[in-house]
């Protein structure tokens, strides 16, 4: 912690946490807007924009990480602090008369525009009159200040405050302190912290175990080429960096009914949706790589266990490699349970700094710069605006995630629930020079085939499923 005098007031400023440094590391290699997240939340009804504006202002006042600021010291080290008041104006844009696709394109352009990082608000809120009788808000945030859980919590809060004013619904519960959560994270990072020492030992044992195998989402071509070029026929990692960072998002909508079947399967078999999705994804990668048994992906850990972590906003996501070695004789459900146990192991050591882990792994394995064993990152976002504790009337919603136009990794898959029907959206964010929209469609098609072949008979073996699809 360090004190800075800002506008005549002495402020306590805190170093960035590991989750924030993960993003900070990303911007070294990408355009500044790579950390922009643009979202839209629109409700199908007339909205009183004066009341909505007041609700947004109150939500900003309640939500510490919307008032987060960064400051640099004389050495260039970045610190963070929360300003007590944020009196900014909330913008308004009228898309009446626009087509929905033109409105979408315009807000995607907004999302491409970088946000200032130092001594400035790292978010933007605009009230929107959306085509088709929908109204709501566009929100752009810097990923170093908020992640998808925070964004959903903020949007939910705006709606709850609005509904409390318009429909006399109960006021939302108070939120938790962002700074308190940061202090806990920084306490963990002390090298002599027993949990930190324990986690370091765990990840060291993972790194120094047998070597994983790279499996690309387009097939074995990338690894085979790099084996040939390096003259190393046993190469098991591949360089995944590419010439450009230009990215796009392809979104595929799984309807409510089949999505419900996946959820029911998880409930009946007491397995998590994340484990089912990971099982599906690793099986597709296996299929695309000559039925490879050893498949690794990057998995996201939201790190929101305690109520403090759940309701303090901020950015908390850590990414870790998840390795699966599954035999063709193992059944689909055995595979899911193996993955769930592996995920549980990762959860217990998820506070460890993922950048430090990557650097240690790269050093131990003598990686070529940019090399990895994982071609895809998977995030499952279970939160929606329709959480059971949310006090809101039954309103028809639309939600969107807008591309920032840049990606630091080849493929980032986010699976999230649609608030309108609880169906699943599969958001594939991909680098345009590495893969095309039609290849994403191909991947999604096989992904669904694996998932539904697996859940219709959980005793099917992995080998049988690989043959069937």
């Amino acid at each position: 912690m360090k004190e800075f005098t800002i506008n005549g007031t002495v402020m306590k400023c805190y170093p960035l946490t590991a989750a924030q440094r993960l993003h900070f590391y990303t911007i070294k290699f990408a355009k500044p807007q790579v950390l922009n997240i643009g979202t839209g939340l629109y409700i199908k009804q007339e909205v009183d924009f004066d009341v909505l504006k007041q609700s947004v202002k109150e939500a900003i006042a309640d939500f510490d990480s919307m008032r987060l600021r960064f400051i640099q010291d004389e050495d260039g080290t970045v610190y963070q602090y929360v300003i007590p008041f944020d009196e900014r104006e909330v913008g308004f844009f009228d898309f009446s008369g626009w087509s929905e696709s033109d409105a979408h394109e315009e807000m995607t352009k907004w999302t491409h525009k970088p946000l200032e990082r130092l001594n400035s608000a790292m978010n933007r809120v605009v009230m929107i009159k959306y085509p088709g009788g929908y109204n709501g808000i566009y929100l752009k945030v810097d990923h170093m200040t908020m992640d998808s859980s925070s964004i959903i919590e903020f949007n939910k809060r705006v709606l709850e405050l609005y509904c409390a004013k318009v429909y006399d619904y109960p006021q939302p519960k108070p939120l938790q302190s962002y700074i308190k959560a940061v202090e806990r994270d920084l306490e963990y990072e002390r090298k002599d912290n027993p949990s930190h020492i324990n986690d370091e030992e765990f990840w060291k044992s993972q790194i120094e175990g047998s070597e994983p195998m790279y499996t690309d989402f387009t097939g074995p071509g990338r690894l085979l080429t790099q084996r040939r070029e390096s003259g190393n026929p046993d190469l098991r990692s591949a360089v995944i960096t590419s010439t450009t960072l230009d990215a796009a998002i392809s979104v595929y909508h799984l309807e409510g009914e089949p999505s419900a079947r996946l959820l029911d399967f998880c409930a009946e078999n007491k397995v998590s949706m994340a484990s089912l999705l990971l099982m599906g994804l690793r099986t597709v990668l296996s299929k695309f790589n000559n039925d490879e048994k050893d498949v690794s992906v990057k998995t996201n850990v939201a790190r929101r266990g305690t109520l403090l972590e759940k309701h303090s906003g901020g950015t908390r996501i850590h990414f870790f490699p998840l390795r699966t070695i599954l035999e063709p004789e193992q059944t689909f459900i055995e595979g899911i349970r193996t993955i769930q146990a592996e995920q549980n192991r990762i959860f217990r050591h998820a506070n460890y700094d993922p950048i430090e882990l990557n650097m240690k792994r790269a050093k131990y394995r003598k990686f070529t710069p940019g090399a990895s064993y994982e071609s895809i990152s998977l995030t499952y976002q279970p939160l929606t605006l329709r959480e059971k504790n949310t006090e809101m009337p039954d309103i028809d919603y639309k939600t969107f995630w807008y591309s920032n136009g840049v990606a630091a990794q080849p493929l980032y898959l986010t699976v999230m629930h649609r608030p309108e029907d609880n169906g699943l959206n599969f958001n594939f964010e991909y680098k345009k020079d590495v893969v095309s929209d039609s290849e994403m469609e191909f991947l999604y098609y096989y992904y669904c085939r694996v998932l539904f072949r697996g859940i219709e008979d959980k005793t099917r073996t992995i080998g049988q499923i690989l043959e069937m699809i």
Partner: protein
């Protein structure tokens, strides 16, 4: 042990301690997810000086299951 567990659980879920019973199911009744549950187990390990096994805990559904499992590990 139940009271101690209730106190720990209420750091993770929005439930009044008096509503938690031995029969309460972690996922269906209390709203735990896998990550919450693993964090809770970390606290339990520290408090009772035990070490849980990730494969074994997949079968723990209710608070009573967890209490029995902890007792077993404490005796081992």
């Amino acid at each position: 042990m139940l009271e101690e567990l209730k106190e720990m659980m209420c750091n993770y879920i929005e439930a009044a301690p008096e509503t938690i019973t031995p029969e309460s199911e972690f996922i269906n009744d209390l709203g735990f997810n896998s990550f919450d549950f693993m964090c809770l187990l970390g606290e339990i390990e520290e408090k009772y000086g035990i070490h849980v096994n990730e494969e074994e805990i997949i079968g723990l559904s209710t608070v009573k299951d967890a209490m029995d499992y902890i007792e077993k590990l404490k005796k081992a």
